[in-house]
């Protein structure tokens, strides 16, 4: 149960090695917090488990293969085996090389599956479990890239647009069952996903995203931008006419 001062008892990190997911776990870490790390078995997952164990969390590692849809039900089943999940973070995703992504059908399919199909499938499964438990939060990491899809990364952007719409809708559907969904739209996040890319203005760290998630849950929000001012920027960009939008260096 999330207590009256916003402290959860259990977290499920779907994509448990993502920098943002781990930053969220660090924010919530306290003695006895149950954290389920759902991710591919890897050194990164082992390291994440070790780090959170040092923070006195109780860790369960669960295997997740985003592209193997058949395995999702078992993954979610195992994730809930230790009891209710208070906050589930959908934090996995692929950026891919944007120019390759629209030319290479396999890469385009992979992006669509990892960034959209898998989150939808897992989201439905998670929603069912949370509906039955009568409480809980699902945090979906979307992106401003999905708010107005741009030429420069439209395959990725379109997957996030789909994910964003799905989770906003899921939040509406689950509301009457006491389950809340928070959609997070970060701008450029300095993480392993974006390493090697040039930084852009309003770039944020995973920790800033985590802070926005914690505040969003405490404030019972449905949608947050990170950093906050991006909301205004995106609100403007959404309405820029296409001929002009095409010429913007974004």
């Amino acid at each position: 149960m999330i207590n009256a001062v916003g402290e959860p008892q259990s977290l499920l990190l779907v994509g448990g090695t993502s920098d943002i997911a781990l930053a969220i776990a660090r924010r919530y870490a306290r003695s006895g917090l149950r954290v389920v790390l759902a991710a591919r078995p890897s050194e990164r997952r082992t390291a994440a488990a070790a780090e959170l164990t040092d923070l006195k969390c109780e860790i369960t590692e669960v295997d997740l293969d985003a592209r193997d849809h058949e395995s999702h039900a078992a993954t979610i089943e195992q994730a809930f085996a230790g009891g209710d999940i208070d906050i589930a973070v959908m934090a996995f995703g692929l950026l891919g090389d944007p120019e390759q992504a629209w030319r290479d059908p396999d890469l385009a399919l992979e992006l669509a599956e990892v960034n959209y199909t898998a989150p939808v499938h897992l989201g439905v499964l998670l929603g069912q479990r949370m509906q039955a438990q009568g409480h809980g939060w699902i945090v979906a990491l979307s992106s401003v890239a999905g708010e107005r899809v741009r030429r420069s990364n439209f395959v990725y952007g379109s997957t996030k647009a789909g994910l964003d719409g799905f989770f906003l809708g899921l939040g509406e559907a689950l509301r009457e069952y006491g389950v809340r969904v928070l959609v997070v739209r970060p701008g450029f996040v300095k993480s392993k996903m974006t390493s090697g890319l040039d930084e852009v203005p309003l770039a944020v760290t995973p920790d800033q995203v985590a802070e926005a998630v914690v505040d969003g849950i405490n404030g019972k929000r449905e949608l947050v931008w990170v950093p906050g001012p991006l909301r205004v920027v995106m609100s403007g960009l959404r309405h820029v006419p296409r001929p002009l939008f095409r010429k913007l260096p974004i």
Binding site: N3, Q131, G134, H135, G178
Partner: protein, 481 residues
């Protein structure tokens, strides 16, 4: 009313009960901070309660009364909450017994009970800070009042109770005899041993519905504690309000009010004609319009100063009615709305008398934290009772109401550490945030409670959000370790 025979309860009921729709509703405690969705089952009879138990799934059931526990004790996310407030009949009264006793359904409120008993010159032995609690809830939380130091908590006055247990059977349990362990686990057991459906309570006699009250102001916390230590034994009822905002040498200044039930001879002749007249004025219901941060530095300081200044320095023998002396907040319905949509929490702890220094450190932490509390209560407890989860123990108890704000988790964690270090604990009826690990340290007799629960409810049918938070849900799993 006389000692009419209590109608017998059928020990087992027909398998088939008509299905009553159980709407999914958001339930929260009086603090309004952590609501979840439960199926609310309206219980009008024992058969309804058995039916609700039979229909429950692995999320279980929790009994619910008037929802005055502050946290998550009477809600059950994804499961069932039994609304027992319609089980509100007074079944029989033995007014001539010594002591007099009353047998009631569990959903009878202390307000209803008190109003019904006063004309007989009978008095509910323990009244907490509100009369709007049910008898079932008063037992499950083992509530206390201003007379704890002289007369103990509610459970001390219960002579027997009928418990609907996880196996669907009713059992009458008493403080002594072979049901003693189950009785005392149910007292203070937060509804997790079964649903209390009726109870027999020993009553006190009174000549009037008034109190003779002495009021003293104290300039700081040391003065307040000293005055309480010295004079409490002369009064049946004793409590102090203190200022939790002002720092420095006036820290913890307060107003001590202590009294006894007024005897008929103490009433002026005008009141003597109707000595049991019950005055319960209503100032109305607070609307749902208050923003968060209604309690801020300016309002909290102004309130605390005004409350202190308006109290007389020293006044002896003032005659007060029940509402004024016991339940001033009952005059305003839904007063919890003043804290706005984020809600608030109440932190009440007790530390043994010999830990007065730890007590002072706790007060300093609160005053210096920047978190603001206006409704603050200080009291000395008398001896506790045999219940493994009952809150009171001999010592100082302090209560503060804190609006939910950033950083409150850290203040409460720091207080927990100080309290547990001093051998104290926090009150589950108020709690909405304690961790399972800290709870185990504060209640060292938890294993006794879990042993009873394992026996009477091995599958954990009686369950609540509080039980999940404190890891009491499944008596055989981690909580028992």
């Amino acid at each position: 009313m006389s000692d009419e025979a209590v109608p017998a309860i059928k020990p087992s009921l027909p398998e088939e009960q008509p299905l009553i729709p159980q709407p999914l509703v958001e339930l929260h405690g009086w603090g309004r901070a952590s609501g979840t969705m439960s199926h609310l089952a309206q219980i009008d009879s024992v058969a309804d309660a058995v039916s609700a138990l039979r229909r429950s799934d692995n999320r279980g059931v929790v009994p619910r009364g008037l929802g005055r526990s502050y946290g998550d004790a009477a809600q059950n996310a994804g499961g069932t909450a039994l609304d027992l407030t319609k089980m509100n009949r007074i079944l029989s009264l033995d007014a001539s017994g010594e002591p007099a006793t009353v047998t009631v359904q569990a959903g009878v409120s202390l307000d209803l009970l008190m109003r019904a008993l006063l004309p007989f010159g009978l008095w509910v032995p323990v009244l907490p800070g509100t009369r709007q609690v049910t008898v079932g809830g008063a037992i499950a939380a083992d509530v206390h009042g201003k007379n704890h130091h002289t007369q103990g908590s509610f459970g001390n006055h219960v002579r027997s109770l009928d418990l609907l247990m996880a196996d669907g059977k009713m059992r009458t349990v008493t403080p002594d005899g072979d049901t003693t362990a189950l009785f005392w686990a149910t007292v203070g057991g937060m509804g997790l041993t079964g649903a209390i459906l009726r109870a027999t309570v020993a009553l006190q006699r009174t000549e009037t519905a008034y109190f003779t009250v002495d009021t003293h102001r104290a300039a700081n916390i040391d003065d307040l504690m000293q005055q309480m230590s010295e004079g409490d034994e002369n009064y049946t009822y004793s409590v102090a309000w203190f200022d939790a905002v002002t720092k420095g040498r006036h820290m913890g200044r307060g107003v001590l009010t202590r009294g006894n039930k007024a005897r008929l001879a103490e009433l002026p002749s005008k009141l003597r004609r109707d000595p049991f007249r019950f005055v319960a004025p209503s100032l109305g219901t607070l609307p749902e319009i208050f923003p968060n941060r209604m309690i801020n530095k300016a309002t909290a300081k102004a309130f605390s100063t005004a409350w202190y200044q308006k109290a007389p320095k020293h006044r002896i023998g003032e005659l007060q009615n029940i509402t004024k002396f016991f339940h001033p907040l009952d005059m305003v319905a839904e007063w919890n709305r003043v804290y706005g949509p984020h809600g608030f929490l109440q932190y009440q702890f007790v530390v043994p008398f010999e830990e007065a220094d730890a007590f002072r450190r706790c007060l300093e932490m609160i005053v210096n934290s920047g978190h603001l509390s206006c409704l603050n209560v200080l009291k000395r407890f008398g001896p506790g009772n045999p219940s493994p989860l009952s809150f009171p123990m001999p010592g100082w108890t302090l209560t503060v109401d804190l609006p939910i704000e950033h950083g409150l988790d850290r203040l409460c964690d720091a207080l927990d550490n100080e309290v547990v270090g001093a051998g104290g604990r926090v009150y589950l009826a108020k709690d909405s945030r304690l961790s399972a690990a800290m709870f185990r340290r504060m209640y060292p007799r938890l294993e006794e409670f879990l042993a009873v629960r394992r026996e009477v409810d091995p599958s954990g049918m009686f369950n609540s959000d509080l039980a999940r938070r404190l890891e009491l849900s499944k008596p055989t799993t981690r909580g028992a370790a």
